[in-house]
């Protein structure tokens, strides 16, 4: 007797390691982990063919919680490490995951250049508008009037708009998801992985410890009312005017992904020695 659909060879559980997360119970990152594992299972990828690269932060702990190859590098440099990895091993599916501090502050410059290079990576930023790991300092996406010990009067600085910046810098796929919607997030991540070039997925993921008010995000998010566009100008207008809680795939570009100029020479290093011969 057959089930309605043939069962998948691997399930989301197969992508979850038995190393238990240290995240606070309630943290949105748990669901992001679930979404990533679901997306990988839905795409029928093999864990050993996937690398999850991260920096430092609560969210950046994610690689070890999967059964994929993981790279938990230093703070802010995940995209740089992932770029090297993907160029060296184009056969791998490379995911980059981390927080808003890691991705937009210390790693902001790498973010710009990763968008611009358009290497076939999927960058998942778990944005909680705060530095969780270091106990609640403002990040680039923190509201200007949010008060903390380090900024007792708020930063007074306008928030960084990662989606608009990604578009301007040349990202080929731009989406926003909400951790409280794991199937939606999984679907978006799956699409991001499949899309060629640099895919950027911003996941709103509440930090219940330092921003408990973010539990109310589930009331604020709403699915995008129109389908993704491939026109950067239209996308720019949409992204510039969106309220930050619009979820779904918002831009799907058509730029070809970066590919390293693969040489077809078959020279051996020894062959080069003759250049020096007198």
């Amino acid at each position: 007797m057959n089930a309605p659909a043939i069962a998948p060879a691997l399930t989301a559980q197969d992508f979850k390691s038995d190393y238990k997360p240290v995240w606070c119970p309630g943290c949105g990152d748990y669901t992001v982990l679930a979404s990533i594992t679901r997306a990988l299972a839905a795409l029928q990828l093999r864990p050993e063919k996937v690398a999850v690269v991260s920096g430092i932060g609560c969210s950046s702990r994610i690689p070890a919680y999967t059964t994929c190859y993981g790279f938990h590098g230093v703070h802010g440099r995940a995209l740089a490490a992932a770029t090297g990895l993907k160029v060296a091993r184009p056969d791998l599916t490379v995911l980059v995951a981390g927080g808003d501090g890691d991705g937009y502050s210390i790693g902001g410059n790498h973010f710009l250049h990763a968008c611009r290079r358009n290497i076939d990576l999927t960058d998942i930023v778990m944005d909680n508008h705060v530095y969780g790991m270091t106990k609640g300092q403002p990040s680039p996406t923190t509201e200007p009037d949010w008060k903390s010990k380090l900024s007792p009067a708020g930063t007074g600085l306008r928030e960084f708009h990662p989606l608009v910046i990604a578009l301007a810098a040349g990202a080929n796929f731009i989406a926003r998801a909400f951790s409280g919607d794991p199937s939606g997030t999984a679907a978006v991540i799956g699409e991001a992985i499949r899309h060629p070039g640099f895919s950027f997925v911003e996941v709103l993921s509440p930090c219940v410890t330092f921003r408990p008010e973010q539990r109310a995000w589930k009331e604020a998010v709403h699915p995008a009312s129109v389908a993704a566009t491939d026109d950067p100008a239209r996308a720019a207008r949409r992204l510039m005017t969106d309220d930050g809680f619009n979820t779904g795939v918002l831009y799907k570009g058509t730029r070809p992904a970066y590919s390293a100029a693969a040489g077809k020479t078959t020279l051996h290093p020894a062959d080069l020695e003759k250049d020096f011969a007198l």
Partner: protein
């Protein structure tokens, strides 16, 4: 519901329908959905149990583990009833962000008490009951599906009752149960 009662409530019955006939029809689709609901709930409760272990809350960990095994049993029973050798592929879309019997991750707290866990479970069972009851009432649904939905709604109603009883047996949390005088730890 106590574990023994739960076990009783989930003893497999005779297969509900002839599997071959049901294989691709709306009834099988419906049961596949019910199966997905139960497995998702079981996995989530297991996740929660792990989280409570890591955060030094063994009592609630044990409770979540219990809830997880109850849901897993329900799922297994659906497989048996349908005579499915392999689990059906989980449908990805639900009315809400998550299946009706699943608690969102953000509901957890490291200092939560058994009562809170049961509150979450109660809400899940209630949502599940409503979910099935809605299908049972749906005129457009095939009679076979409506019959099964009625039965499942009935079961969920029973679970609601059992959990309510269970809740009477655990202490109600005091008002400052989530007080932690110490600041969060730090790392990395």
């Amino acid at each position: 519901m106590s574990p023994t009662k739960a076990a009783r409530a989930t003893t497999p019955k005779k297969p509900r329908a002839n599997g071959t006939r049901a294989a691709a029809g709306p009834y099988a689709q419906f049961m596949a959905r019910a199966y997905a609901m139960e497995t998702d709930a079981a996995e989530r409760y297991a996740d929660f149990a792990d989280q409570m272990d890591v955060h030094n809350n063994p009592e609630v960990a044990e409770l979540f583990r219990k809830l997880s095994s109850i849901e897993a049993l329900h799922a297994k029973r659906i497989l048996e009833e349908m005579g499915w050798k392999q689990p059906p592929r989980a449908p990805l879309a639900w009315d809400e962000a998550e299946p009706p019997e699943t608690t969102a991750h953000t509901e957890l707290h490291y200092l939560m008490q058994p009562y809170h866990a049961l509150q979450l479970a109660l809400r899940n069972e209630q949502r599940a009951e409503q979910f099935f009851a809605r299908i049972a009432r749906a005129r457009k649904a095939p009679p076979e599906v409506r019959r099964a939905a009625t039965e499942l709604a009935e079961e969920e109603r029973e679970h609601v009752r059992l959990i309510r009883e269970w809740m009477k047996r655990v202490p109600k949390p005091e008002k400052d149960w989530d007080r932690d005088p110490d600041p969060p730890g730090l790392s990395d």
